[in-house]
Each structure stands twice: as structure tokens, then as C-alpha cells.
């Protein structure tokens, strides 16, 4: 039974990536060959920076389908215009003009259903690339890069997830920040979501937004407090009052922040950070094993 963990946060810069790559490294060492990390932040993919030793395969292009109107068949009936909810089609019968504006098109396929003259065909258009790789120590790492200026984040994430599904029994998704559609796409099928937060007013406000979203989606989640000690206890108390699981706390360490900055996250970790990490990683490791165990006993 595959297990999927998504690492998310409402606010950016809380330490999502730091945690995701640490979790990945830990699990891929304790369960070699069974773990993959998927960087779902397709606007700003960063996870690969921390694994310079990773070997990447050739980039795969991701396409979406954009309709094209065959003017020789078009009768300028404007039915596609009527069907298109995104105002992406311009048809001007008087001058016999019909065109699709691909920047507004959502690739929903409604115009094709609308067209009775078989005048609309779909053509692939590149929206980004997927990069897959593996670490010499085992473990697969992949991610997507959206073309700059494209607004197809959600589709890019869905395509990325489709492309890598089933590559490993345990998957870690590093979600983009925020609470909008792309985040939903990244966490939609996760078995556990870890919200990374920081104990500052901004961190807490954004965490509440994420919690609202996850409750609406009825997803199991827990909260990881990063940079603890930097702000106040308010966040702890809030989680306690709300009955939300605290996955763990990682103390703020200026030295560790400096290490992240240079792209080094794994060597010479300050002791207090290393200790907090190992406790949390152990806990999650046990939980994954338990999940597998549960499944076996069901059989």
C-alpha cells in the first residue's frame, strides 16, 4: 500500500523545503529504493538544489491541448464562443474570422463538444518540463518546471503527479505555498499532510488559512513548528486548544539558516536541530511502517 505525505504551508519561507528534503534523505536511507520526493512547487522548484549528487534523466516536456479552429470547415456559428466560459474564442462572422486565444484557454474541451462542423482540433502546447532523477544512495527525486508566465500550475502539478505515480511505495510531495488551486492539486491524494509553520503572527495567520482548507477537504494533517523560539507560545497553545496534532518542533538556529542558504542541509547540522529532526523523522518513519503493517493485517 503506497503512502503519500505532503509537506505544505500557507506562508512561504517557513521551512517546507528544508523539512521535505530532510525527510526524504532520512527515509531513503532507512528504506533504500522505496522513497521518492516530488517537488510540486512548479513555479519555483528548489528541492533539487540540495542534491547536487543526484543524476537527472533527460527533461520530459509536458503538453496541454489547445484547440485550433479550421477555418475551412468553420461556419462561424459562434456556438463554441457560447460554450467557452473563459472567453478564449473570438469569432467574427462578418469578416470570417475565428481564433482561439491560448493564453485564456483552460483546455477544458467544451468547444470541441460545441462544434457541430468538426472544425476544432486540439494541438499540443508545451506548458513546462518534468525532471526525474535518482540519488546514488537510492531514492528518486523529481519535479516540474512551469514555463515562465504560464498560468497552468494546477495542470502541471497534476501531470507531474501522474508521471511519477507508482515509482516508489513512499512518496513525499513538497507543495507550493498558499491555499489556492495548485496547493489543492499537490495535496489532493496525500494520506498525511504536514503543515510547516513558524511561531510568528504571519506564520500563525497563514497556518489558520491552511487548516481551514484541509478541514474543508477532510484531510488528515499535523503541524510542524519550525524556527521555534523565534516568536511566541501562541501557536503551541492554539494547536493544543484546537486538538491539532503537533508533529514536532525544530528550534531556530541561525547557524542552520546559514547552511540552508549555501545549499547544504545535511552535514554538520547544529546539535539541537539534529536532535529535533531525528525525533520527528523517527516518529514519521514509525508511522509509515505502521501504515504498511495495518494494511498487511487487513489482508
Amino acid at each position: 500500500m503506497p503512502f503519500k505525505i505532503a509537506i505544505a504551508s500557507g506562508k512561504g519561507g517557513t521551512g517546507k523545503t528544508t523539512f521535505a528534503v530532510n525527510l526524504f534523505r532520512y527515509l531513503s536511507q532507512s528504506m533504500p529504493g522505496k522513497v521518492q520526493l516530488v517537488d510540486c512547487d512548479v513555479e519555483e522548484p528548489n528541492d533539487h538544489i540540495f542534491f547536487p549528487e543526484a543524476q537527472f534523466e533527460k527533461l520530459e516536456k509536458v503538453y496541454r491541448l489547445v484547440p485550433e479552429i479550421d477555418q475551412s470547415k468553420c461556419t462561424y456559428c459562434r456556438k463554441c464562443v457560447e460554450y467557452c466560459e473563459f472567453n478564449a474564442i473570438v469569432v467574427i462572422p462578418t469578416v470570417r474570422f475565428a481564433e482561439v486565444n491560448s493564453s485564456l484557454c483552460h483546455s477544458c474541451g467544451a468547444c470541441i463538444v460545441a462544434c457541430e462542423d468538426d472544425a476544432i482540433n486540439e494541438k499540443p502546447e508545451e506548458i513546462g518540463t518534468i525532471r526525474r532523477g535518482f540519488l546514488p544512495s537510492g531514492g528518486r527525486i523529481s519535479g516540474g518546471t512551469l514555463k515562465i508566465g504560464s498560468s497552468m500550475q494546477t495542470m502541471m502539478i497534476r501531470e507531474l503527479k501522474k508521471a511519477v505515480s507508482g515509482e516508489a511505495p513512499i512518496t513525499i510531495f513538497d507543495a507550493p505555498p498558499g491555499t489556492s488551486c495548485p496547493v489543492v492539486a499537490a495535496i489532493a491524494d496525500a494520506d498525511l499532510i504536514i503543515l510547516v509553520s513558524e511561531p510568528t503572527p504571519f506564520g500563525m495567520y497563514d497556518l489558520k488559512l491552511s487548516i481551514d482548507l484541509l478541514r474543508e477537504l477532510r484531510k488528515p494533517f499535523g503541524v510542524l513548528i519550525n524556527k521555534s523560539g523565534l516568536g511566541t507560545d501562541e501557536l503551541h497553545n492554539y494547536l493544543l486548544n484546537q486538538g491539532i496534532e503537533l508533529i514536532g518542533s525544530i528550534p531556530f538556529s541561525r547557524a542552520y539558516a546559514g547552511m540552508y542558504a549555501s545549499g547544504n542541509l545535511f552535514n554538520d547540522i547544529p546539535e539541537e536541530v539534529a536532535f529535533a529532526f531525528s525525533e520527528i523523522l523517527h516518529k514519521l518513519h514509525d508511522r509509515i511502517l505502521q501504515h504498511e503493517g495495518d494494511h498487511h493485517s487487513e489482508r
Binding site: G10, G13, N46, C108, P177
Partner: protein, 300 residues
């Protein structure tokens, strides 16, 4: 392009989240004269936590359409699921079909192909935008339901209103706290701006994202300025960023050291300049603002 000769809109962006955009915006808000503020991060707005707005006007913002299936009419034929390209239509355990509102893109195709007319859609009305008073001046901001699409248009709405207010009341500056990333909301916050201020942190990922952001902004032909935040967290990377900025002709307004005073100010709901006006940080922020203003006035 419309030009309001006296008014300048500055959008503060970062690419990567958590680099200190909102803290810088708040600091500028506390010293800028004749300015109006705008929170362009409608997804996870934070500026109001510092500015403590008193809401004066509330406006609904019609969101995207969301389809739903009327279970009484539905015959469970499953046609809608075959047509839906957004994987938004699912079956529950008893085999009945339902549409997940968060995954629904609002294209209405299911509604049109349903043979028994069981699907209908409605515009979501849970998003609002506000005009508020703060101790520094007016703030235009918004609140978007989680999982909503189309935040780009809400950003545009908020900015347009700020611009109208600025024009009507003769403000000199609009300071916009932009959304993270380089996607649709970020583009919506750049379009029509007079300048972009990029807050970069000296990390590998921060630099990577800043380069992508700069590439995006260049397409708009808008001048880019930058501030390196927490530069002393890694001076090696900071130096690398500095030389990239230099080679890309991006003006560096200031380098801000790491200081816990930023978090302390945040907890007190104050901008850094209000919280500790004599600190080194406040000095750097003030001089960055002055430099930015003079660059903009002379650049015309």
C-alpha cells in the same frame, strides 16, 4: 498604457516566499508620505496584521463557477466524469457521482452534456475585498476563500481600486505587497506598475527564484530594484547575488542584516521602523526608501 504622471506604483515581490516582503512593505508604509497601500497577496494576506486596518468598505468579488450535481435527477450514467478534464468528478462509496468544488474549474462542460439536466453551476460569492483606514493611510486588501481559482483577477481588482483612490485623492505612491511566486497573481500585480522591488534572501533557492522573477519582470519593461534581506545569513551567496544584480543592471537599494527585531516588531504588530526607529535596520530601510523614491523621480 495609461500614465498617471504624478503617481507611482511600486510592487514588492520576491519569487520565493518568506523573504520579508511584507515586513519591508510595512516598514515603507510607516515612512512613505502621500501613499496608499495594497495587499496583492490575496491568497495568504499578512499586511493587515501589521497595519491593523479598520474596514470601511466591503465589496463582494464573484469567484469562479462551481458545478454541482442534483442527486435527485442524476441517473449515475457517469458521462460527466468522462468529459471532465480536471478530475473533479468522483463517485462516493455508494456509487453516486459528486463534484469536488475545489477541483472544479468552472468550465460548465458537464452541465452542458448531462443528458438529464442534473448539473448546475453557481458563481461562488465567498470572496471579498475591502477598503480600510490604517494609521499610515488607506489600505485596499482582499480575502479569498481557500482553494479558489482566479486570484489574478482579484489582485487586479484590488490594484485597480487602489489606483482609482490614488487618482481621486491625489496620492503620490501606491505600495503593493505582491504575491509570492511568478504565476498569474504575480503577473497581475506587475502589469501597469511603475517599478518592481525584489526582496532577495541570500539562499540558493532565493537566488534561483529571484532570477526567474527578474526574467518575468523584464518582459514588462519595468525597472527592477532590489533589497537583499538577511544578507549576513550567508555572505558568500549574498555576494554572488550582488554580482548577478550588478551584471543584470538591477539597482541594489540596500542590504539588510538578519535581526530578530523583525519578529519582535511583528509580534507587537508594528513595523520595524516604528518598533525600533534607531536600529541599524530602520536606518537601512529608510535610506532604501529614499533611494527608491529619488530613482523613480529622476528616472522619468
Amino acid at each position: 498604457m495609461i500614465e498617471y504622471y504624478s503617481m507611482k506604483e511600486i510592487t514588492i515581490l520576491s519569487g520565493k516566499g518568506g523573504t520579508g516582503k511584507t515586513s519591508v512593505t510595512a516598514a515603507f508604509a510607516s515612512i512613505a508620505e502621500h501613499a496608499i497601500f495594497c495587499d496583492g497577496d490575496v491568497d495568504a494576506p499578512d499586511l493587515h496584521l501589521i497595519l491593523a486596518p479598520e474596514i470601511k468598505e466591503t465589496h463582494p468579488f464573484p469567484g469562479g463557477r462551481k458545478a454541482s450535481i442534483n442527486p435527485e435527477l442524476c441517473t449515475d450514467c457517469g458521462l460527466c466524469r468522462d468529459y471532465c478534464r480536471f478530475d473533479a468528478i468522483h463517485q462516493d462509496i455508494s456509487g453516486r457521482y459528486y463534484i469536488h468544488p475545489v477541483q472544479c474549474e468552472g468550465c460548465r462542460l458537464c452541465e452542458r452534456i448531462c443528458p438529464v439536466g442534473a448539473i448546475s453551476s453557481e458563481q461562488s460569492m465567498n470572496n471579498f475585498w475591502f477598503v480600510s483606514d490604517t494609521r499610515f493611510g488607506k489600505l485596499v486588501h482582499a480575502n479569498m476563500q481557500a482553494g479558489e481559482e482566479n486570484s489574478g483577477k482579484l489582485v487586479t481588482t484590488v490594484r485597480n481600486h487602489a489606483r482609482e483612490l490614488a487618482k481621486a485623492e491625489g496620492y503620490r505612491f501606491i505600495i503593493t505587497d505582491g504575491p509570492p511566486g511568478i504565476g498569474c497573481p504575480a503577473i497581475a500585480s506587475i502589469t501597469g506598475s511603475k517599478a518592481v522591488l525584489m526582496i532577495v534572501e541570500p539562499t540558493r533557492s532565493g537566488m534561483h527564484d529571484a532570477i526567474r522573477l527578474a526574467e518575468l519582470v523584464k518582459g514588462f519593461n519595468i525597472p527592477i530594484f532590489s533589497i537583499i534581506n538577511k544578507y549576513d545569513v550567508n555572505e558568500e551567496v549574498a555576494a554572488e547575488i550582488e554580482s548577478w544584480l550588478h551584471s543584470d543592471n538591477i539597482i541594489l537599494l540596500g542590504k539588510i542584516p538578519f535581526n530578530e527585531v523583525v519578529v519582535k516588531a511583528m509580534i507587537e504588530k508594528k513595523s520595524v521602523i516604528e518598533f525600533d526607529p534607531d536600529s541599524e535596520l530602520s536606518y537601512i530601510l529608510r535610506s532604501s526608501w529614499t533611494k527608491l523614491v529619488s530613482e523613480l523621480e529622476n528616472g522619468q
